[in-house]
């Protein structure tokens, strides 16, 4: 403790940091009560990951209710109002409760180890950003129980519907405010860690891709979360304080909300995908036993995707009657994003080219990611074309598109990451056979679920409806069957993770021979509670 005791007089902030450490030691690593006070990046990383796993299953359960209702035409299981709430909260939970916290969990675990830092820059703020998510989640769940039910306006919270809703909408708005604050704090922490705490010799252009993608994602988050907060605050004042920002009756404009919301919303989709790009960029070289092809171009491609994401929001609202010049601008800008994304896909394939490939579970998920995400990217290009979008807007084609980019994109990126780093985190190996079963079941059932939704959309089935015309019955039934297989095969994942932690075979320090980042080359498995108290020298 000598190295840090000197510091105690220097800043009071550091005091508590040390106390929390000492505390954790007194209780020992086995004491679960330390989760309330811990400032250790590994503890907090695990807490984020467990939280998001729980939310993933809650959101997934809602998705299965939705698919059960849509199994056949007519109303069987839920009332239309509840159905609307389910689609809304499913999206909010998956975005803000599952995917974003899971990436933050990985950031907490990996960033300090990958850049040779002892911990995150602001450990106490780190603890706070995690615990803020709990009341937000409770607010979201509890909104189902209040009169009027949970928000039913879709996760986009468009007025006038979101102005008319009951208490549930207020609870949702408050929950998003809290989650936004948590994300902003998390981002500040990550940027400061990455810019200030790198080990000597770890230049920016030597950082692993996961660190790079998170640096850029964190900047995106700080930039757009306040915009979302502004939009929903205006919604709140429209609801309760007599303002008319979006209320046409009072001279406001509901389209304005869409503009502000999507100025946040499009960068948000990159917040959901860029860290997955980072994870994939580390796993593919490992199992190709080759360095990442075009590292620098990967960094620049990520940065240009992030910058372009600020000027394409109009593609979500081609049908609101915007000027033709506006439509053309947003259409071409959106298509432009395919260029840096294409660079990334090219680099990943070029990394595998003539590599000595092996297909362990993390690699399978990454290859699945490559294929399926590219498909989702293509349907995105289709939707970027104005005249096509005008017919496909608000149909199941859109639902198919964003599930193709988000499930094999964000979720498989995360799954790949869990399988890849689990031996490092726990010191034990997962069950490879079970992992492969998980992958193949997911891959097949995912396509059974979402590929038919392209057909439904092209045939004109609108999204966010609990009942539908008879001609859509067959593909909806297929989609629902796929969804149930997909949902239940995720239990294999939980089983695999839990049995790995409890009784997995011993993992080696460098479990994957091709892995090159510091956590594999410099640290044992499992990693000790405190790492890199003295920074390593990176050559």
């Amino acid at each position: 403790m000598a190295s840090t005791t000197t510091l105690d007089d220097a800043t009071s902030h550091h005091d508590t940091h040390n106390e929390a450490h000492a505390d954790a030691h007194d209780h020992g690593p086995g004491s679960w009560t330390r989760i309330f006070t811990t400032t250790n990046h590994k503890d907090i990383g695990s807490m984020y990951l467990w939280f998001s796993l729980f939310m993933f299953f809650v959101g997934g359960g809602m998705a299965l209710l939705i698919r059960a209702e849509l199994f056949q035409p007519g109303l069987q299981i839920v009332q239309p109002e509840v159905f609307n709430s389910l689609t809304t909260v499913h999206a909010l939970i998956m975005i803000f409760g599952a995917v974003m916290p899971a990436f933050t969990g990985f950031a907490n675990w990996l960033i300090p180890m990958q850049i040779g830092a002892a911990d995150m820059a602001f450990p106490r703020m780190n603890n706070w950003s995690f615990w803020l998510m709990i009341p937000a989640a409770i607010l979201l769940f509890a909104s189902f129980a209040v009169p009027g039910g949970a928000a039913g306006s879709g996760w986009t919270l468009y007025p006038p519907l979101s102005i008319q809703g009951g208490l549930g909408v207020d609870m949702t708005i408050l929950a998003i405010h809290i989650l936004g604050a948590s994300s902003i704090m998390g981002s500040i922490n990550i940027i400061t860690t990455l810019l200030n705490l790198r080990a000597p010799g770890m230049t920016l252009m030597k950082m692993p891709m996961f660190c790079w993608t998170w640096l850029i994602t964190a900047y995106l988050m700080i930039a757009v979360m306040p915009v979302l907060a502004g939009a929903i605050t205006m919604l709140l004042t429209d609801r309760h304080f007599g303002t008319s920002f979006f209320n046409a009756a009072g001279g406001g404009d509901p389209t304005m909300f869409m503009h502000i919301f999507w100025f946040f919303g499009h960068p948000e989709v990159y917040i959901l995908i860029l860290p997955a790009f980072g994870i994939v960029s580390q796993i593919i070289p490992t199992f190709s036993r080759k360095p990442l092809f075009g590292y620098a171009s990967m960094v620049y491609a990520t940065a240009s995707i992030a910058l372009l994401s600020f000027i394409v929001w109009g593609h979500h609202m081609f049908t609101v009657g915007m000027p033709a010049q506006g439509q053309l601008f947003f259409m071409y800008a959106t298509m432009l994003i395919a260029v840096p994304t294409g660079v990334k896909i090219f680099n990943w394939i070029a990394t595998m080219w003539r590599g000595s490939l092996s297909f362990e579970t993390p690699m399978l998920f990454c290859i699945g990611f490559l294929c399926m995400f590219t498909l989702g990217g293509f349907s995105g290009l289709v939707l970027a074309v104005v005249p096509v979008d005008i017919t496909l807007h608000n149909t199941y084609y859109v639902v198919a598109h964003f599930h193709y980019v988000l499930f094999p994109g964000a979720i498989w990126g995360l799954m790949a990451g869990v399988y890849f780093w689990l031996p490092k985190f726990t010191g034990r190996m997962y069950n490879e056979t079970l992992g492969k079963w998980h992958f193949w079941l997911s891959a097949i059932s995912f396509n059974i679920t979402f590929f038919p939704q392209h057909f439904l959309g092209l045939a004109g089935m609108p999204r966010r409806i609990p009942d539908y015309a008879l001609q859509f019955a067959e593909w909806n039934m297929v989609s629902s069957i796929g969804a149930f297989i997909l949902g239940f095969s995720q239990l294999l994942f939980v089983w695999n993770v839990v049995s790995c932690i409890r009784s997995g075979a011993k993992a080696e320090a460098k479990q994957w021979e091709g892995a090159e980042s510091l956590e594999w080359t410099h640290l044992p498995s499992p990693v000790p509670y405190h790492t890199f108290e003295t920074a390593p020298i990176v050559k």
Partner: protein
């Protein structure tokens, strides 16, 4: 150095001197972190301000770039400027209907294809609320085939309170393919009184009670 014992890979073997150097370094780091924190926090109010200033910003950008034409306001390319059609507006009242009914504009000349709005003014001179209904007719009759009304008050019940005056718009255009031999059209409206029993099926109870 008790904590370093947990530290598998990077044991701190520098001893006390090393620790002191490290401590000084870390205060420096803490300070840098704090500065970074304030810089990053600054982005939050900046983006909130940006969010709030989006409306004037959009207006300004659209003005500078000349982006004004929405689809709804797109230019009408169907106007035949080579000729004018003379339109006369006539107002009639059915017998014993004590309303005052006149066209505000009695005559307009309009290019085929161009959109035009005129008004009729109606006053209820009776001391109680009354309901009337207007029926249009055209002269010549085939002129009516090319006279397209976009908005009109005819065929629907109009209830006026005692002494109330109302301007009722007619928005129309003359079809661009109107034959050359039709140079003028007269549009005439005749207001009929809707009898109370019929009005009762169409109107709210409030209006009914006032009628005798």
């Amino acid at each position: 150095m008790s904590m370093s014992t947990n530290n598998g890979a990077s044991l701190d073997s520098n001893g006390m001197a090393g620790a002191l150097v490290q401590a000084v370094d870390r205060t420096e780091v803490e300070r840098n972190n704090r500065i970074m924190l304030y810089k990053l926090l600054l982005i939050v109010p900046v983006m909130l301000f940006f969010c709030a200033s989006m409306v004037p910003l959009y207006k300004q950008i659209c003005k500078v770039l000349g982006i004004t034409a929405t689809r709804a306001m797109a230019e009408n390319t169907q106007v035949d400027t080579s000729r004018l059609i003379a339109i006369d507006f006539v107002a009639n009242l059915n017998t014993n209907f004590a309303w005052n009914f006149v066209p505000v504009e009695k005559h307009v000349d309009v290019n085929p294809g161009a959109k035009m709005t005129i008004n009729y003014r109606v006053t209820n001179t009776l001391p109680y609320a009354t309901t009337g209904r207007a029926v249009p007719s055209f002269a010549p009759i085939e002129g009516g085939l090319y006279f397209n009304k976009i908005e009109c008050f005819c065929f629907s019940n109009q209830t006026l309170q005692a002494g109330e005056t109302r301007d009722m718009p007619v928005t129309f255009y003359v079809a661009a393919n109107i034959p050359k031999d039709i140079g003028a059209i007269a549009l005439s409206y005749t207001f009929f009184r809707v009898n109370d029993s019929e009005a009762a099926t169409n109107l709210s109870a409030g209006n009914l009670k006032k009628a005798p």
